[in-house]
Amino acid sequence: MSRILTMARAGREALDWEMERRSEIFVLGEDVYNFGGIFGTADGFGAKYGADRVINTPISETGFIGMAAGAAMAGMHPVIDLAYIDFIGVCYNVLLNTASKTHYMSAGQVKVPMTLMIGTGGGYNNAAQHSQCLHATVAHIPGVKVVYPSNAYDAKGMMHTSLRDENFVIYLTHKGTAGVGWMGTPIKTTLSEVPEEPYTVPFGKIAVTREGTDVTLIGLGMSVHECLKAAVDLARDGISAQVVDLRSLAPLDRDGIFAAVSKTGRMVVADEDYLSYGVSGEVIASVVERDPRVLRAPPVRVCTPDIPIPFARPMEQHILPLAGRIADAARMICTRKTEQ
């Protein structure tokens, strides 16, 4: 049976399936009861599961995410909705020091199985405090798994995997990819055929989203779709671009990345997070620390520069790592002769 779903609906299906069967799973967050969470991942769950398992919280992120961690330590598997990653500032200690480190500090005596769903990204003129990606910030914390589906198939499979993982998992979704009402028409490449039955997508494996031989475009979240657009554009110029979706930041599939880049010898990393101390540097370093000789040209980063996100459209569109900038970078390194 073939069904095309949005990421939001696909993720919801997995959560629903697990919640039906496992009483330890419950959902909490701001407005989850009435609004079903930022991406509708818990849409209709209030009525279905009741206020005990779909808990509307005050605007107290340290309080309720910390409570979730405690509930996890006591045998539950909370699923938390933290609408925007920009808000991690008010609850960062729970991520940094509590949920991620308790298992280790207790030498495995205590487990903290919980899934924290967070929306990332901009592109819709929501300005400096509601458009950030910050995925590198959370992925830098040891003891946390960070996954980042970019299409409906992965959204469902990675949600199942998250809910069956006994660790603290941060499940990121770029707001523009989810296919929710307030972001307009869903991006085509985020939609997938999604099996009705449950399935898991493993963490720590890249996906090669498009095959190509001249250059490897590496993205995550929204940037995967910008890479795909760029690849279409490049194809018109006779450049065959491979597109890699990182999908998981922790663990990071360094083997997969190296293999993909080795195939083409050229890499462009597209990342909507800030450039410095982020994913782009990590991905490039992961390749060259194995062997810099696989690169036939310098790697290029197409990122949000190290500036707060401006509100006005002309400025915001200018600084985002959109397909045009990605394609330009790829063209540059494909045509430039290297002497290696």
Binding site: E30, N56, N126, A128, Q129, M183, G184, F311, R313, M315
Partner: protein, 325 residues
């Protein structure tokens, strides 16, 4: 100051200016967003949180302030900004992302900065609390006058910052007022669901501060409570939690259908009763009231025209203002 006819007329005027502003912005907001809704579309993209219903808060509190006093506001800043005297033309331009905007299009509607009237706002819940207290501290260290006020919602009163800052204000006896705008809702979550006590003003005792509660959403009452709090702050008597029951008539943000609000919780528009009251009291004639409304509408229409006619910033300007030189 006291509740003179001039003051009341001016509060009425501020309420109407704010309403006219928000109504105009709501109109612009929907341009380009039908039939397919998307935050990104149209001349006014992003989230938009309008103040319709909360105008008495801005008008009543700001009427009790001096030029020296300082304000931080939250994601719903228009009514406070307008009553405080922020330039509506440049504010409209900012909402449209124009070069002539207060922040040259960098800020948008949640990030309204107008240092000339000591006004700032930002979009993280309860984020304005600590900076406001710090401004009060700065003035004390500089031996300059000035009370600091932060405006936030009843939902924000459950953030940790509320507690930390009020305790600091209590310890330091800073001239500080925490204006809690209780519109019953934080997005779709009711105050009853979110808050363990009925009134945040009662939490003042946890900080050695005074608490004031105004139930009426009437600017006269708000002004008088604010004036009492200001007098306390100015005389070294410490801070106040000033909780004001108000309304949120246009939903949390544009696009919010408010289906979660039960019929019996429908909120009243504070403008018609205040107009009626002022007319009954002989402070305004019907004709004067109409004239104020017309002037407000005209002023805002002109501001919108200015904003619309203004150019966008150049793309490369994104790189300016990251650091002060």
């Amino acid at each position: 100051m006291s509740l003179t006819p001039e003051l009341r007329r001016d509060m009425y005027r501020q309420m109407l200016r704010s309403r006219a502003f928000d109504d105009a912005m709501i109109g612009l907001y929907w341009v380009g967003k039908t039939p397919i809704f998307a935050f990104a579309n149209g001349p006014l993209p992003g989230e938009l949180h309008c103040s319709n219903g909360a105008e008495p808060v801005g008008a009543g509190v700001c009427a009790a302030l001096d030029a020296d006093d300082m304000i931080t506001a939250d994601h719903r800043p228009h009514h406070v900004a307008i009553a405080r005297g922020v330039d509506v033309r440049r504010m409209a331009a900012e909402l449209l992302g124009k070069k002539t905007g207060l922040s040259q299009g960098k800020g948008g509607h949640m990030h309204i900065y107008a240092p000339e009237v000591n006004f700032a706002s930002s979009g993280i819940i309860a984020e304005g609390m600590a900076p406001a207290a710090g401004m009060a501290l700065a003035r004390r260290l500089q031996k300059r006058p000035g009370v600091a006020l932060t405006f936030m919602g009843e939902g924000a009163a459950n953030q940790g910052a509320f507690h930390e800052v009020l305790n600091l204000v209590g310890v330091m006896k800073l001239p500080f007022i925490c204006v809690v705008q209780d519109n019953e809702w934080g997005v779709s979550t009711s105050k009853k669901e979110s808050t363990a006590v009925e009134r945040n003003s009662d939490r003042a005792s946890a900080y050695g501060m005074a608490g004031e509660y105004v139930a009426s959403n009437d600017p006269d009452d708000i002004y008088e409570a604010a004036a009492r709090a200001m007098a306390r702050a100015r005389s070294g008597g410490g801070g106040t939690i000033l909780e004001l029951r108000t309304a949120r008539l246009a939903g949390h943000f544009m696009g919010d259908q408010q289906a979660y609000i039960p019929a019996q919780m429908k909120q009243a528009d504070p403008i018609p009763p205040y107009r009626a009251k002022l007319v009954a009291a002989g402070v305004l004639t019907e004709a004067e009231a109409d004239a104020i409304a017309a002037a407000a509408t005209a002023e805002i229409a002109e501001a919108v025209a200015f904003a619309q006619a203004s150019p966008y910033p150049a793309a490369e300007e994104a790189f300016d203002h990251v650091f002060a030189a």
